[in-house]
C-alpha cells in the first residue's frame, strides 16, 4: 500500500507540472461547462442527467489522454528498469498509476461540483437523489475507464498508440448501446450488461444497485490485472 501511495503521489504531483494536463483539464471543463450552460440556462432545465451523459462521453476521450503516458512513458524512457530493481511489486506500480489518474479525475470532477451547486441553489423541484447518485456513478465509471487506459498504456511503449488503444476499448464499452438496437432481444439481454451506459443509467435515476457498483469495480480489477499480467509476460520483474 505504501509503494502504491508513493507512486501515486509522485505521478499526481508531476501531472500538474506538465502543460499537457492543464490543456486537457481546461478543454474538459470548457466543453462540459458549455454543455451545462446550454441545458440549464438556455433550455431552463434544472437537472443534470444530460450533463452526466455528456461527461461520460467526454471521459471516453479525456481519460485515455490522462492515462496514456502512465506505463508507456516509463517504458519508452527506460525508467521501468529503475522501478523493476526496487523492492516493489508490479501490481503496486499498476495500482499506483491507477490511483494517480483517479485522483486527477477526482480533481477534475471536483470542479464539476459547481454544476451541482448551481442546480441545488438556484433550481426548483430538484431530484437530489438522482443528482448526487448520478455524480457518484461518474466517479465509478471513471475508475473503470482509468483501468482500461492504464492497461492500454502497458501494451505499447508509444503514448499515442496507447491513447488510440484506450480510446478503442473505452469506445467499445461506451458505444455498445448503439449496436444493441440492431440486435435481437434475446442477445440484448446479455450484451447490455457490458454497456457502461446501462449501469450508469441506474445511478442517474437515483437508484444505487450494488450490482452496478460491483460491475465497475470488477472491470477496473480485471483491466488492472491484465495490465500487470501483460507487464509480467514482457519479462519485467518476472515473478514479482
Amino acid at each position: 500500500m505504501n509503494a502504491i501511495w508513493t507512486i501515486a503521489k509522485k505521478e499526481y504531483q508531476l501531472a500538474f507540472r506538465s502543460v499537457t494536463s492543464y490543456i486537457v483539464f481546461m478543454l474538459f471543463l470548457v466543453i462540459s461547462g458549455a454543455a451545462f450552460a446550454t441545458t440549464v440556462f438556455k433550455i431552463d432545465l434544472a437537472e443534470l442527467r444530460g450533463i452526466y451523459g455528456f461527461i461520460h462521453l467526454l471521459f471516453v476521450f479525456f481519460i485515455p489522454a490522462i492515462t496514456m503516458g502512465s506505463i508507456a512513458k516509463e517504458r519508452s524512457s527506460g525508467t521501468i528498469e529503475l522501478l523493476s530493481t526496487l523492492p516493489i511489486r508490479l501490481s503496486q506500480v499498476v495500482w499506483g498509476k491507477i490511483l494517480s489518474a483517479f485522483l486527477q479525475v477526482l480533481t477534475l470532477l471536483a470542479f464539476c461540483l459547481v454544476y451541482l451547486g448551481i442546480i441545488m441553489v438556484l433550481g426548483e423541484n430538484i431530484d437530489y437523489g438522482a443528482t448526487i447518485m448520478g455524480f457518484t456513478g461518474l466517479v465509478f465509471v471513471a475508475l473503470a475507464y482509468i483501468s482500461i487506459g492504464v492497461f492500454a498504456s502497458s501494451l505499447p511503449s508509444n503514448q499515442v498508440l496507447a491513447f488510440v488503444l484506450a480510446l478503442v476499448i473505452s469506445g467499445f464499452f461506451y458505444g455498445i448501446r448503439y449496436i444493441l438496437v440492431l440486435m435481437p432481444l434475446s442477445v440484448v439481454r446479455y450484451l447490455q450488461f457490458f454497456s457502461f451506459e446501462y449501469h450508469l443509467s441506474n445511478f442517474s435515476k437515483g437508484v444505487l444497485d450494488i450490482r452496478d457498483l460491483l460491475f465497475f469495480v470488477a472491470v477496473a480489477l480485471i483491466f488492472a490485472f491484465l495490465a500487470e499480467f501483460n507487464l509480467q509476460s514482457k519479462n519485467m520483474m518476472q515473478e514479482r
Partner: protein, 333 residues
C-alpha cells in the same frame, strides 16, 4: 557473493548470453569487458532481476535471486546503462522518491542523502530539475540513486560514461572506496578504467566468457611477445641482411619517406635484440631517432581476444592491431 551458473538468455534466435558461469566475491571490484553487443548489459539486467534468464541460475549468497525478488532488490544497487531518470523531477525529489519506494526511514534517508550528496558531488544541483542536468551530473544522480540504500552489491553499467576527467577520478575513487567493503561489478568500454579500478576482469564476447582472471595474470593468455618501434633518419635502409640472421623476427610494417624510415618488428619476449639491432644500425651509419619496445596493455589483449574468434584464449598473434599506437599509461602486464 554472487554466483552465476550456466546463465543463458536468448532473444529469438539470437543468443545474447550463452551458458556463462562466474562468481563475484565480496570486497572485490570486478570489471566486465566486452565489445558492443557482447552481452554485458543483458547479463547485468538478469543479475538485477530485470530480465528473466532463458536458463541457468543466479545465486546471491547461495539463494536464487528469484526466490524472493523483493528481498534481493534491497541488497542490490544498480546503475542502468542509459541511466533513465524522471526528467520532470528535482534531484532531491528523485532521491527521496527512491528512498520512499525503498521504505527508508526519514532519519536514515537524511543521513544517506548527506553521504551521497557529498560523495557524488551533487551539492550544486540538488534543487535543479533532472531534465536540465548535464550528462555527467545525470550520471552522478544515477550513481547516487544506486548507492542510496547502502547495498551489499553494486552493479554499475558503464558508471563513468559522459563524465569529465576530474569527475571520472572522483567517481573512480568512490567506487574504489565502496569496493573495499562491497561487491562491485562494473562494465566499461574504457580499458584504463578497468586497469585502474578492478581486481578481476571478465571479458565477454558473443555471449561467452572468454577470460575470467585476476588482472595481473592476463598476460599469461598470450605467447609473450614485444613490439619494437624503430625510427631512423637515413636513406635506402635495408634490413634484409639483419632479418636473415634473425629469422624469429617478423616485420609488421615498414615505411620509407625520404630520409625518414619507420619500422615495427614483433619479437619474442625472451629475446633481447636491442644491442644487436643498434650495432647493425651503427655499422650502416644510420641515425636512430627512436627505438622502444611496447608493452602489452589490457586494451590490446581485449582487442586480440574479442576480434579473433569465439572462445579463444589462444595466443592470437595474427590478430595483432596494425596501428598499435599505444598509450604509455597502460599497465605493465
Amino acid at each position: 557473493m554472487i554466483e552465476i551458473k550456466n546463465l543463458s538468455r536468448h532473444f529469438g534466435a539470437l543468443k545474447a548470453v550463452d551458458e556463462i558461469s562466474f562468481s563475484v566475491g565480496s570486497g572485490t571490484i570486478t570489471g566486465f569487458l566486452g565489445p558492443n553487443g557482447a552481452g554485458k548489459t543483458t547479463t547485468m539486467r538478469m543479475m538485477v532481476g530485470y530480465l528473466q534468464p532463458s536458463a541457468g541460475s543466479i545465486l546471491l549468497d547461495g539463494i536464487s535471486i528469484f526466490a524472493d525478488p523483493i528481498a534481493t532488490s534491497t541488497k542490490i544497487g544498480y546503475l542502468p546503462e542509459q541511466n533513465p531518470l524522471y526528467d520532470e523531477m528535482i534531484t532531491e525529489e528523485i532521491l527521496r522518491y527512491i528512498a520512499d519506494l525503498r521504505k527508508m526511514p526519514t532519519a536514515l534517508f537524511t543521513e544517506r542523502l548527506a553521504y551521497v550528496v557529498e560523495n557524488c558531488g551533487l551539492q550544486d544541483v540538488l534543487t535543479q530539475r533532472v531534465g536540465t542536468l548535464s550528462k555527467g551530473y545525470r550520471q552522478r544522480v544515477g550513481l547516487a540513486m544506486a548507492i542510496l540504500h547502502d547495498p551489499e552489491i553494486l552493479i554499475l553499467d558503464e558508471p563513468t560514461s559522459g563524465l569529465d576527467p576530474n569527475q571520472i577520478l572522483e567517481i573512480r575513487e568512490l567506487i574504489r572506496k565502496l569496493g573495499t567493503k562491497k561487491t562491485v561489478l562494473l562494465s566499461s568500454h574504457i580499458m584504463q578504467e578497468v586497469q585502474a579500478l578492478c581486481d578481476r576482469v571478465l571479458i565477454i564476447n558473443k555471449g561467452k566468457i572468454i577470460v575470467d582472471d585476476e588482472i595481473g595474470k592476463l598476460s599469461s593468455y598470450f605467447k609473450d611477445y614485444q613490439l619494437l618501434h624503430l625510427e631512423l633518419e637515413a636513406e635506402n635502409v635495408d634490413f634484409s641482411e639483419f632479418l636473415e640472421y634473425h629469422p624469429e623476427l617478423e616485420v609488421i610494417s615498414q615505411t620509407q619517406e625520404g630520409e625518414s624510415f619507420k619500422m615495427q618488428i614483433r619479437i619474442p619476449a625472451e629475446l633481447d635484440i636491442k644491442y644487436d639491432l643498434a650495432r647493425f644500425i651503427a655499422e650502416n651509419g644510420w641515425l636512430i631517432v627512436s627505438l622502444y619496445a611496447q608493452q602489452k596493455s589490457l586494451e590490446e589483449i581485449f582487442h586480440n581476444l574479442t576480434k579473433g574468434g569465439e572462445t579463444a584464449p589462444e595466443p592470437a598473434l595474427e590478430a595483432l592491431p596494425e596501428e598499435a599506437e599505444e598509450d604509455e599509461g597502460g599497465l605493465k602486464l
